[in-house]
Amino acid sequence: MAETSLPKRRTADGPPRASGSRILRLFHRSESARGYLMMAPTLTIMTFGIVVPFVILIVISLWTRHGFGFDTTLTLANYVRSWNEPIYGTLLLRSFWISGVATAITVLLCYPMAYYVAFHVHRNKMMWIILMTLPFWTSYLLRVFAWKVILGYEGVINSGLMSAGLIEAPLSFLLYSPTAVIITLAHAWAAFAILPLYVSLEKIDRSLLEAATDLGDGPMARFFRVTLPLSMPGVIAASFLIYIPTTGDYITPALLGGPDGAMIGNLIQLQFGAVNNWPMGATLSIVLMLWIAALALVFLLVTRKVQGRIT
């Protein structure tokens, strides 16, 4: 390594400059120490931004609301409540269901696109990748808002169909329904799914595909026996990357979901806002996290099993 060889040579030439301080010398000698030092600011921020808040979140979830303050006796009361009162379970289940459907749709729709760019685009690949991922980087709020404009009671679709004379009255099922939430989520997270899918497909050695063809597979058999199994890591990554953040989303359900499309995120937001029950909000956040972790684990195990059997 560049930085280690230099101080070492100086040590050999004469009295080392860093001789005054034992710590400095350790710093020069140990790559590990230098690595940690360089990462220290990042790690500090991440620790204060993730670990500490999570610990406090757990602690608060064990408190209870007491008037406008907290009763700091540690108790599992909130967890028991979240388990017993049907509203929490219902919203949690609905969140998982909506996110699950949105994730499945997104991955299914994005896979052919990623496949196309990985295998059939030869020039300006970079352009395609940027084009596909560009919308993801722009305001999530605005993209959701765009769907409100489209699906709204007097929105683009309804008013468009009406002025074309195809329908008499606006279609009411478009806005404020789980369907609206699913469509919006699938659209908003598409770019996030494309990248891992594309990377896993692009990584597949082309000679493996030729080998499959050479050994007698037509395009279909080749896809299911080689391409798909080898791109499974990308499918899994894409699923995680969409499923996890969308389960906690509250903007989309708030703007487009209506009462039937509300998700657990809306409930958490309410606890910290209008309801003003922070311990309950903390509890719900923790419960959400635990469920996500559990589901992710199951998902991972199942895909491993399936992947082993596909061939």
Binding site: S32, T42, P53, L57, P135, S139
Partner: protein
């Protein structure tokens, strides 16, 4: 050279084009209706006007919110990029124990719902008695921007040969000057890309800002507030169109610089 495998597939080509259209059209309705001379966002279009843009121009709160977002965005992008450079360098150039775990840790915000970060930080700050302000929004944004900065910069550091740094050391430069004369120019495109991306993320971020904003709203917070009033829709559309345009431009340039440089190296 795999001609057989690469034979063009018309169906797939058509699908790709449709995909891109569906990806972009919903977003393009925003600028379309922002020029519509009607308070209602619906077809048929009523004629072209710039009045919604004109109205924006005269609104004091819009300018304040914009300025707030720019301030937060600039600070967050610079800090997260500097920290990202240090982290990426440490990850690629030193043998550290537990490196994999550290990288996973830094990338965690990518796979945890933003709302949980938001409420966790809110709880921490309120326990510490820190008042909510643009600083707290910035802290929240820093946490979600860092993984993106590191992810953008890592390939740059991985992409260039450490022996170039060794050559510089061998030719007599110390670590500091080696960084400025060799490392920095080599990873420059990554740094620019990281700055632009993190700025855009912070500028557009809403989920954490919702929990962490004090009395000074950022632009997305301001827009969220306006969404309750349908009569404000047209001016929100105009604002959204401007933001989309700037975001698209920034991210496009960032991605182009970032990837272009990588391809040249290969």
């Amino acid at each position: 050279m795999s001609s057989y495998i690469k034979r063009p597939n018309r169906a797939l080509q058509l699908y790709a084009v449709l995909f891109l259209i569906v990806l972009y059209v919903p977003v393009l309705f925003i600028p379309l209706f922002s020029f519509n001379d009607s308070i209602y966002v619906r077809f048929p279009l009523q004629g072209v006007t710039l009045k919604w843009y004109g109205e924006l121009w005269t609104r004091e709160p819009v300018w304040n919110a914009l300025w707030n977002s720019v301030k937060v965005g600039l600070v967050v992008s610079v800090i997260s990029t500097v920290l990202g450079v240090m982290a990426a360098r440490a990850i690629t150039r030193t043998r550290m124990r537990g490196k994999g775990a550290l990288v996973t840790f830094i990338m965690m915000p990518l796979v945890i719902p933003g709302i949980i970060f938001g409420v966790a930080l809110l709880v921490l700050l309120s326990r510490l008695g820190v008042p909510l302000s643009l600083y707290t929004v910035g802290l929240g944004h820093l946490i979600i921007c860092l993984p993106f900065a590191v992810a953008t910069l890592l390939p740059r550091f991985e992409g260039f040969d450490p022996s170039m740094e060794e050559a510089s050391a061998d030719l007599g430069e110390n670590g500091w000057w080696t960084f400025w004369r060799v490392t920095f120019p080599m990873v420059m495109p990554g740094i620019v890309a990281s700055l632009l991306l993190t700025f855009t993320i912070s500028f557009d971020e809403f989920i954490m800002a919702f929990f962490l904003t004090g009395t000074d709203p950022t632009l997305p917070m301001y827009i969220w507030g306006q969404l309750r009033f349908p009569k404000e829709f047209p001016s929100v559309l105009a604002m959204a169109a401007l933001i989309l345009f700037v975001s698209f431009a920034l991210v496009f340039v960032a991605q182009w610089i970032g990837r272009k440089g990588l391809e040249e190296q290969e």
